[in-house]
């Protein structure tokens, strides 16, 4: 991938709020044997929100690379960091993010499963389906609008 900042934002918003949302709603309904509740929905919104900021940082790092590219391996490293950041906020800094205080509350194990599945679905879609429905997407650094 050779994303632009606008492309990163557009792709992130579209994929997390479609593919990611479908998986999240399943979690909200307790489909996987997890405690049902809206916390998964709120966490997804925080992941998107923080992600828009992280994209700024990634574009800066990218400008140090001669090819100005962002290999899949770096996408994975970035995703690991973004998940870890949420965990750090909740578990270590003990910050209460608005909307996450609702029952059944935070559960580290279920967060990791939820986040992992959302990320995997977003990644696989971005590598395949996006190219098929938006043929201009790969030439425009991830912009689909």
């Amino acid at each position: 991938m050779t994303p632009t900042l606008l492309g990163r934002w557009q792709t992130r918003l579209l994929l997390t709020e479609t593919v990611g949302l479908v998986i999240t709603l399943l979690f909200c309904g307790g489909t996987f044997g997890n405690p049902a509740g809206p916390i998964f929905f709120w966490l997804l919104q925080y992941i998107v929100l923080f992600g828009l900021g992280w994209d700024y940082l990634y574009i800066y790092i990218q400008s140090w690379r001669w090819d100005q590219d962002w290999p899949a391996a770096l996408q994975w490293i970035a995703a690991l960091w973004e998940g870890l950041f949420i965990i750090l906020i909740v578990e270590v800094a003990n910050l209460k993010l608005p909307g996450t205080g609702i029952a059944p509350g935070w559960h580290l194990g279920w967060f990791m499963v939820h986040y992992g599945l959302v990320w995997l679905a977003v990644f696989i879609t971005s590598q395949s389906f996006m190219r098929l429905i938006f043929p201009r997407w790969r030439f425009r650094g991830g912009q689909w609008l």
């Binding site: 050779t2 632009t4 001669w66 090819d67 100005q68 290999p71 391996a73 098929l132 790969r138």
Partner: protein
Amino acid sequence: MSTLPGQVRLSWQDPVTGEQRTPLLTCPITLGREFACMPVELHGQRVARIVLNSSQVSRYHTLIEWVQGHIRITDQNSSNGTWINGVLQTSCHISSGDLLKIGPYEITLMFTLDGRGLPTAEASEQSIIQVPEPANPVPEEPAATPINILPPAFQAHQLVVQDLHATQLPVEEIDYLAVGAGLGSFIWVDFLRICGVAVQQIRALGIEDRPYARYQRLCLNSQIPAHERLRSNSDSCPDNIWGWPGYALREAWHEFNKGNMNPALQYLWQVFAEPTFAQTYTPRSGNVFASIDREAIRIGWPQIYRFGRVRAIRQTQDGRYAIAYSPGRKQTAFVVARHVHLATGYPVLQFLPDLKAYREQTHDFKSVVNAYEDHRHVYETLERQGGTVLLRGRGIVASRILQRLYEARQRQPNISVLHLMRSPKPQGNRFGKAQRLVENHFEFQPFNWPKACWGGTLREELEQATPEQRTNLLADWGGTTTADRRDWKRFVQQGVDQGWYQITFGEVTQVVPNTQARPTTYIQEKGLRGEVKLEADFIIDATGLDSKVKASPLLNDLVTHYNLPLNPAGRFAVANDFELLEMRNHYGRLYAAGAITFGGPHAAVDSFLGLQYAALCAVDGLVAARAPNLQRLNGLNSLRQWLKWVQNQTP
């Protein structure tokens, strides 16, 4: 040739076009990015001002003066400095043969302090040869200017279609015409078919029925057989406009089905981690050609293609274009089309002037060859009896030739290679915060442009830039590079260690036959310490292709007849969607793609993916112009077409 004291020959290879520049100038000489920012006169002497296009060059960068019997060079407080022989200098005396580096420009300075002769340099315009044609083409009319055989109607600015019918020669009227019938044409036609146009609405004119025929021949000549890999990305698929599944996934699937798990996983790992944690994946040329064959049948290419040498293109009075072509010896026919796409590729091969001069003098076409010509005899002779090869050029083709010579050495150890480079390469190009990697004087980059030139930040930046800024950007990103392949690096290291491979730096003064009729190269080393003589059995020129439109009679006629503007690189000035705006004719549109548009809105115009980008832009432009039966490709429509591709059904 005698020169005056204070005269300096500057010689460099243009980082944008690859052309050799060798002006002979009288001091004072200034170098900088903006002509108007350099002084007109210094100490009452007229200044020779040289403009170097690059963002790494300051507006007024460096001054070269003749001071008390010496040539002195002074940096003008530039942002990125003046480097002499790899050392940063603010002001110093220089010797003849010294290497001046300013941004991406590496300029050799040659002069004599006493006015003795300097070696002559030939104009780069002459140093071209024709791209090799198929072994058995339909014979060409003997050198007659093609335009002469055309009816008088073609002299008009806009011709009347009835005049063509009046000639009694065959006239075909069609909606879409692709001129060239190579990969650029094929990819545009692929888009048209997928976007709804029928086979009988499209015609492609060219001289070879397989769209990749010429590309394949250049690959084979430059020693890339079917099992070897091209310098192309996994998702640059000329057979699939979506780029998915890419060649890596397909090759991995193929290996997986044969039970070969290791290579399958390796290809997947490569596309996952390239170029940072793994060597970049590139597809085998044979797989690419086979995939194009499949797509060609699917879209009906055999029915669309016609043999024909295109002679001239004219606007018609009814808002279309008339194309005259020869369908065979001494025959002429016409196509009248509403929308035309020009993708004629590289008209000529670039050939080093000294090597061309050698061939003209000696008529020896066996010992001095261009890497893109058929030169199998070189390896056959070497494998039989051994010998020395002088290799010129440091790009990807040179690397591939080196690999072939390494393979020849496995059969015949008595082969040695002398790699002649113009100058050392201590550091790579810089752009913004990034710098290109250099090792053993080879500059590395996975593809021929930084990757973001195809679809990332750099593509956007180039598209938005002015023509002058584009030249600067292309100079910063361009230059000769090769791929960072582990096997190639191993061959170089082994060769250096075992002594059969040697890199020599110098400016060639002449190439002449010795008493045994072997080509002998004379090079000038630093400080006029005298000439060095290099003898070899073969010289291989691996310096590249040239795409100046003036080199093609067809394009030259079009430019002259309609007074078309050229861009600063001497190619067609196209709009951001690759239309030749000056050729617009009511509803009629003329688009171009490929090497003939280099220097414009897109850097990688001659790559598979670049051709797909150009075709997509052109087809989107045609959709906006309400071209017949054409629908915008997007969303479910695009997905449906992809499913047809998967099932190998006609679009």
